[in-house]
């Protein structure tokens, strides 16, 4: 790796870290791109040469996690039912996500930024859009597993929509709660996915939820 390449890498890392640190402490809207650039001592223009926009820095780490989930789903044995495959893939990939994140920024910082994403309208909106793109990708993978055509059979997209919906609900509840650890998120997700069956079964009033 060149000196040039190394320098670029260092600038990129520095910008990313400075941005996330500022978002986590001061808030997203309260942080200007000039602030970030100044923290790393480069021009504002240089920031935009590394990131397409302020948003991109906030979603850099989450994107890594998402990619990992997609890979995990791809690798699931084809015998499993779709929802089961999705369930195992998330829970499993979150067991190893820690290291992936820590290579870039402290996990603790990432979790604080995650909370900022959930509580900042503009970021939440962007997050949800990314999520639907992810769902489309997952639907295609599921369809392929089952030997179906995504555009002809609604079922892959429906299952993925259900799954994605549950994930979003847990994300929101987790970020609003006070157990802001990866383990807490994992448990909440597992618990909610366990409730999918009961939620879709007959009469709720006859049986209490655990």
């Amino acid at each position: 790796m060149n000196l040039r390449e190394r320098k670029k890498q260092r600038t990129r890392d520095a910008l990313l870290r400075a941005a996330l640190e500022l978002f986590a402490t001061r808030g997203y809207e309260e942080t200007t791109v000039d602030d970030i650039a100044a923290a790393v001592d480069v021009s504002q223009r240089t920031f935009f040469r590394y990131f397409a926009g302020k948003e991109e820095t906030a979603f850099y780490v989450p994107r890594l996690a998402e990619n990992q989930v997609v890979e995990a789903v791809r690798v699931r044995p084809p015998g499993e039912a779709p929802l089961e495959a999705l369930r195992r893939a998330v829970l499993e990939s979150w067991d190893t996500i820690n290291e992936t994140i820590e290579e870039i920024v402290p996990v603790e910082l990432h979790l604080r930024v995650y909370r900022v994403i959930e509580s900042t309208p503009a970021l939440l909106a962007a997050h949800l859009r990314r999520a639907t793109e992810l769902e489309e990708e997952l639907a295609r993978i599921i369809a392929e597993r089952e030997g179906l055509d995504v555009d002809a059979d609604p079922r892959p997209r429906i299952v993925v929509a259900l799954f994605g919906g549950v994930i979003r609900v847990t994300e929101r509840l987790w970020s609003a709660g006070d157990d802001l650890t990866l383990e807490g998120m994992r448990q909440l997700t597992a618990a909610y996915l366990d409730q999918v069956g009961p939620a879709l079964a007959g009469n709720w009033r006859t049986e209490q939820s655990p």
Copy 2:
């Protein structure tokens, strides 16, 4: 109603219509607030006194439709299963949405704008965020119907997440297709909601989807 009030109403309507017309023909990003203001012959500042932002104009009509759906769910007889109540509420309220829209703008214009929303990243993101807020509201209504506590029992949110997910899928498919009528949307939604059961049932490979 005052002359003053009437004038305000006319300005608001004119701004809204001008905005939607421009979005539908030229595109959202290609339309500046100055363009909209100029079309109505008011200052840009005045535009921002009527609407919080450019986005708000794009979502004015959709918000009317959403409110109608929420009301329809509220009014559903408590005997119905949650998912069934949601299903009937949407399909039913879409039967009468036509008139509600036409009071503000031509339905045809609204449908064109809707397509712009789905194909413009920034608008799609905002739309999805609004949708999750709507889902939260629906979850509370469902919970109340069933005599449950939304924050203690995951099932209301899960059902609503599934429902919302299916709606989003159909919205996307509809706007990407070529039958851009309310009736087409209605049928697509009904068809997809009918597939929820099959999608969640056992082995997809044994039974073909209709």
